[in-house]
Amino acid sequence: MIAAPPARYNRIVTRLTGPSLVFAVAAFVLVLGGCSKQQNTANDPSGLKPGAARKSAPAFSLKDANGATVTLADFKGQVVLINFWATWCGPCKVEIPWFVEFQQKYKDRDFAVLGVSMDEDGWKAVKPYLADHKINYRVVIGDEKLTDLYGGIDSLPTSFIIDRNGRLAATHIGLVDKSDYQNEILKLLEDPKPAAGIQPGADVLATLLGPNQRP
């Protein structure tokens, strides 16, 4: 029962005094600090990660509603918003019209939205929804392998914004303001296009090989 823990915690807290209390508080703060970076980013929606702190977005290969293969490499040189959603997710429904608008507005500036549906019923549930909501961007059905690659997706909506170099620039868990997305997308679109031949995620290899051996 939920009612039980507070009394137990009260007993624990009353036993903690002096150094043990300081240690307990420090441990608590460390544990909270150890929560995923996604959580931290969600609390700081204005912040794109600094370039040096961005990690390569994990590569994937999934089928869209037409059966065509979608890979991260398809979006080479583009700013991409990957949105994990589901038809049963109310807050996701708020964001979808924004993404439809972004796709329409910025597609000619090397921007794309990719929806990843987490519906257990797959296309049976998703295809009617795509039609109902006039979704104009590509959608794939997510699987456990993909969610594991992206750090485990337990809460929806969860969105990742990927920069032109295929790196994770921002993460948002839960519903955030439309302007947060828009500002981040526009900022990332200002970045110069990567040199020809650079693949999404190539920065890791480039770092390993050194500056003169970029792929």
């Binding site: 997710c89 708020v94 929804y129 997706i153 929806l156 519903l175």
Partner: protein, 143 residues
């Protein structure tokens, strides 16, 4: 405990220890399953307001008793900023009453009946992936 502090790993639904269901062989009886939702979270009711929403569903496996029905409480109707129409939801403490029937031939004694509770929880900014959890009720068959 600490792992539950991070979003997405929170267990938002806690089942209370259930009371024993006592049923006479050949008779009927009721069992109550009570759960508590974490403050700020809700689950869709058994009759959600939208075709895409996932309903709360309690089912019992065939066993010592045969389940003849589940009575869900009156849902709350609440408006959320993220949805255009009010939602039919449960929040706080929720009790589901199940009706059972025992065969005349059932052996008297202590047993358990097992089932599954499927739910999908949200707060006002995010939803958690649907879950199906195992539930049990202690049962005593008497003559």
């Amino acid at each position: 405990m600490f792992s539950q502090l991070c979003s997405g790993q929170i267990n938002v639904l806690n089942i209370a220890p259930p009371r024993k269901v006592t049923v006479k062989a050949g008779g009927t009886g009721d069992g109550k399953l009570t759960f508590q939702l974490l403050s700020g979270y809700h689950v869709n009711s058994n009759t959600p307001s939208d075709q895409y929403l996932i309903p709360l569903r309690l089912t019992w496996n065939p066993g010592t008793l045969e389940a003849t029905g589940v009575v869900y409480p009156q849902p709350g109707i609440q408006k959320f900023a993220f949805f255009e129409k009010p939602l039919s939801i449960f929040s706080g403490e929720v009790s589901l009453l199940s009706h059972f029937k025992a065969a005349a031939s059932v052996t008297p004694g202590l047993n358990v009946i097992t089932g599954k509770l499927r739910y999908q929880a949200c707060n006002d900014r995010m939803c958690l992936t649907p879950k199906t959890i195992d539930v049990t009720l202690p049962v005593e068959i008497v003559r």
